[in-house]
Amino acid sequence: MTQDHDAGTRDHQVDRTMLEARLAKTWRTDPGLWGALATVDHKIIGRRYIVTAFVFLALGGVLAMLMRLQLAGPEARIIGPDRYNQIFTMHGTTMMFLFAVPVMEAVAVYLVPLMIGTRNIAFPRLNAFSYWMFLFGGLLLWVAFALDMGPDVGWFAYVPLSGPQFSAGKRADIWAQMITFTEVAALAVAVEIVVTVFKQRAPGMSLDRVPLFVWAMLVTSFLVIIAMPAVMVASTMLILDRLVGTHFFNPAEGGDVLLWQHLFWFFGHPEVYIIFLPAVGMVSTMVATFARRPVFGYLALVMAMVATGILAFGLWVHHMFVTGLPRLGESFFTASSMAIAVPAGIQIFCWIATLWSGTPRFATPLLWVVAFIVTFVIGGLTGVMVASVPFDTQVHDTYFVVAHFHYVLIGGAVFPLLGAVTYWFPKFTGRMMSERLGTWSFWLIVVGFNLTFFPMHILGFQGMPRRIYTYQPDLPWHGLNLFVSLCAVMLVAGFVLFAVNVVRSLRCGVPAGDNPWDAPTLEWATSSPPPPYNFAHIPVVGGSNPLWESPEKLPVASGLCLDRRELIVSSVVEAQPEARESSPQNSVWPFFAAIATSVMLIGSIFTPWAVVWGAVPVFVTLVGWFWPKGTPEDAA
């Protein structure tokens, strides 16, 4: 076997047709259900991840429309208070934990290996496991909601409201355990991306030549690794308080209620940047392509992203300004909250400079970028406003805050994401999205969004609190609320049109070539959609924009085996090739491991013994997962 292996055919020994056939056989995903469950192809998993996240976006959107329906008029009787509590909690939880973070990571799972010129993500089985965990966590939450036991304590589930005394039943437990699912999934992807970016870049792609989206995902992944454990610890403490009678959050027994808020926002604020930084990467990528010049201020953009990532951990307390903190603490966190506007400003100016000095071509993705810049600046400005304590004290927990964070999250992340979907759709599917439908949905969404959310600033000034299920007719809110609800219909129409565009283009879009936008990054160097092995030869990179610098023919590395899944491991800084490394085969064990873990985690909501007995099947599946293969480890 070993002899045979060492003597195995290398890629320079066969002709192109033979090469592609052999690689396709080695890297294939088997057809049928079993093959689908066992696949570890980052493109298939990334595609699933993206589609699932968009399904959750649609579900969360339906909930938003239900809320707008209820709030359209005073004293409406459409949704009762209990159901309304569940709906706004589900809306926030779904959007934050099941859409925003997963969709960004999903795009990275698909694109990062392609952009850095490798054949699969690092730890591909962990990647499969991550997707199944995410899916099962989402199902847990939504099945519970369908059974009238959806969480009803707000998406940040403050204690004591979510604690054992005031949150009867299993609702808050389901929320807390859903957190565990999604955070396990997110952490797994973050680790994969860090390793992929550091160790699997194409030869020659030194750190200063890494595409900006990849930089953004690298910083994001570090944020995930540092921030997510805080909320996992917090939600586990909450579950322990609720199920086994610990006292982490019980002041009478020495616990601390504010501890929850600190732990949650130590995660929760970086979370905003975990969602925003990938969008920064997408925008930087699209701006360069459509301005038809390399992005202005590459170094400044990278440093701004790193600075955002670091500062993100220094301002969580601005969510807690009304909890009665010492003045010095408030001042510090005001200053740090305002300081993060500096790297954001640098990014904005770099993009404007790129567009200014380039020859922009206003295709739909670039329209989204422009809408992003405008909307995000508005959201950023209200962010600076609420960073100041006296102002924040006035508008805390009002619709002003609702307006602010929808501006930064939808304007700052969803707009670039929709642009990115349009931009990379040809790479994902091999077909272009319709420009005409795209432009229509663009204007509907952007105009609808601003008409829906801008009036909420005013409602906030008029004192309308968040999370109320109705209001009295003599309050001065009903005119604007009706207006907001009507405009929300326009926003939804835009999203529906976007979905129609996706489905139609999938069937009968114009076939796209390998590189329809004339983009400079490596994912466009392979066919659309990419073959299972991504690249027939691993490319060798000589600059930041490889496809612009050598448009005719990319230099490639050769000498990789064809009979096993092999990719190049390179050095961290210079990306000097170091070894030929094997990439794991398909395996169904990650799926079984995810099922066993889900059974254990869901069981633990009902009895602590589930952790003990549930660990046994988890152990068994992990043994299956890591069972030695009997093949030589490396042929470096």
Binding site: V143, L147, M149, P164, A168, K170
Partner: protein, 192 residues
């Protein structure tokens, strides 16, 4: 084909869970007045110990024993209406204990509802004019859990306060039962 199999399986799972799980989480913020009136019709035995619960209570699925929200509400009422002044946190005091598993009038819901609503001799005041029917049933459900013989699937959580006894959701109070009956104070309990 595969998708259909998956969605059928999912739908079946939802149905199974729905059949088993939903009632314990349902929350009603306001009871229908006719149901409240019907719940008042408790048919006690002549000695006012035990009896038949109203038909509507059974038809509803015994919500005051099986629904976590109602039990938690009952626990709050226990504090708000000063039950602890005589019964402590279930260990008793001026009034009889609940935690010891000895029920002077039996552990049935109708007895407890009647005790709260109509009062009992030797000090238990009637709460008929102070609480709504729904509140009385909620409180009765909670009182019943304090001295329950077996664990229920629904229970209120522990309070954010000093813990003087294990939380209700940890185990049935039967673990804490005294081996013998607490001797009745001569002023307590039913007339012989």
């Amino acid at each position: 084909m595969r998708r259909r199999a998956v969605s059928t399986g999912f739908a079946a799972l939802v149905l199974v869970l729905a059949a088993g799980g939903c009632q314990r989480e349902e929350r009603q913020t306001r009871l229908d007045p006719p149901i409240a009136a019907a719940l008042d019709g408790v048919a006690l035995m002549p000695d006012r110990i035990s009896g038949a619960p109203p038909a509507v209570y059974v038809a509803l699925g015994k919500p005051y024993e099986r629904n976590a929200f109602n039990l938690a509400e009952g626990k709050r009422l226990y504090g708000w209406f000063g039950c602890a002044a005589c019964h402590g946190e279930g260990e008793g005091g001026k009034g009889p204990a609940f935690l010891d598993g000895w029920w002077a009038y039996g552990p049935s819901m109708v007895s407890i509802v009647s005790s709260i609503r109509d009062g009992r001799p030797h000090g238990m005041p009637p709460f008929r004019d102070k609480m709504t029917t729904e509140q009385i049933w909620q409180l009765a459900g909670y009182v019943q859990t304090i001295g329950a013989y077996s664990a229920k699937t629904a229970a209120p959580g522990r309070s954010d306060a000093k813990q003087r006894r294990p939380a209700e959701n940890r185990a049935p109070a039967a673990l804490l039962f005294d081996p013998g009956p607490t001797p009745l104070h001569p002023d307590q309990g039913p007339e012989p």
